[in-house]
Amino acid sequence: MILSFGQSLLIILVIAAITFALRAAPFILFSRTGTTPKVITYLGNVLPPAVMGMLIVYCLRNVSVLDAPFGLPELIAVVTVAVLHLWRRNSMLSILGGTALYMVLIQVVFV
């Protein structure tokens, strides 16, 4: 440990406080007035699918399509998850199947 006990604790508390404040902000801003503005309700409804799209791209952001293996393991795994899910609609099967395949691909096939 380079920092002191107190310094370390302070860092953790600052990160915790700001993270919580961000998560709590909408509840503090919109719950005391009783009525949430329509535009906020609208955003609350349409954000989930948009955020899911964002998170998918975010997870794959460091994949390089210009260098070998050109993002192939990721592409194969993503397509597998999607096809499995559209076929059986079983979340567990899609996620475990895709993840197992991806692990094999990057550990054994594309090394």
């Binding site: 915790a16 961000l22 998560r23 709590a24 964002m54 993840t99």
Partner: protein, 238 residues
């Protein structure tokens, strides 16, 4: 409550895989910085933010001021400010549990709560609470395991964190089917991909979220008109 745990557990398994593997990685890094499992436990218990905790490890090597740490946390976790918007009414009915739900609203828990419904006969509030608390327990457990025994793990876990990506894809597809309009989902993909191409992977989230919100506001008429048509159609059904 037992019933709610039974219903929640299978739903949380993908997050368990992701959180255990990412949590273990965090515990290892934190241990390397000189912080033992008690620190890892405490940090995962009160901070509970995946990507941020990874970045935070670098703070513990010293030389970074508290204000800079505060700004960085704000920037990295800013997207969470939008997550509560989808649960304003539902969390407000949860009494004391409300503030834990607010605290525990990570990317993954948010995704599960958006994407999965409580099965018939199970109280939604209890189901939500169980999902949230199970998810955090995986995260805390993972960080402690990583910190304690990380070097003794014998099987190669490389690539296991793909479970997180897969989870988001699965929920994306479920919502694709459930939503009257596909515009929000497509905007989410397109805005983020656009920002990625324009500025690279370094600071992706905030510009993407900003662009998504602007795009959703601009497309509000189209999205809401489609939603209205779909509702009318559904009402026509016998």
């Amino acid at each position: 409550m037992k019933q709610a745990i039974k219903a929640a557990f299978p739903v949380t398994i993908p997050v368990m895989l992701g959180y255990l593997s990412i949590g273990i990685a965090f515990g290892l890094l934190f241990e390397n910085a000189g912080y033992n499992f008690i620190w890892a436990f405490f940090t995962s218990l009160i901070v509970y933010a995946g990507a941020m905790q990874f970045i935070a490890v670098s703070f513990f090597y010293g030389g970074i001021g508290l204000i800079q740490i505060a700004v960085m946390t704000f920037v990295v976790n800013f997207r969470h400010i939008f997550y509560g918007l989808s649960f304003l009414d539902r969390f407000n009915d949860m009494g004391l549990k409300k503030w834990y739900m607010v605290f525990a609203l990570t990317d993954e828990t948010y995704s599960l709560l958006c994407g999965k419904k409580a099965p018939a006969g199970v109280d939604e509030k209890k189901f939500f609470f169980c999902v949230a608390i199970l998810d955090q327990s995986y995260w805390v457990l993972g960080s402690v395991i990583g910190s304690l025994a990380g070097s003794m793990i014998t099987f190669n876990t490389k690539g296991m964190d793909f479970a997180m990506t897969a989870l988001f894809i699965v929920i994306f597809l479920d919502q694709w089917k459930a939503y009257p309009s596909h515009i929000p989902a497509l905007l989410g993909l397109a805005c983020t991909a656009g920002v990625l191409l324009a500025i690279g992977p370094g600071n992706l989230v905030i510009p993407s979220m900003a662009l998504i919100v602007i795009a959703l506001m601009l497309a509000r008429k189209q999205i809401e008109s489609k939603a209205a048509v779909k509702t009318e159609k559904e009402e026509d059904l016998p």
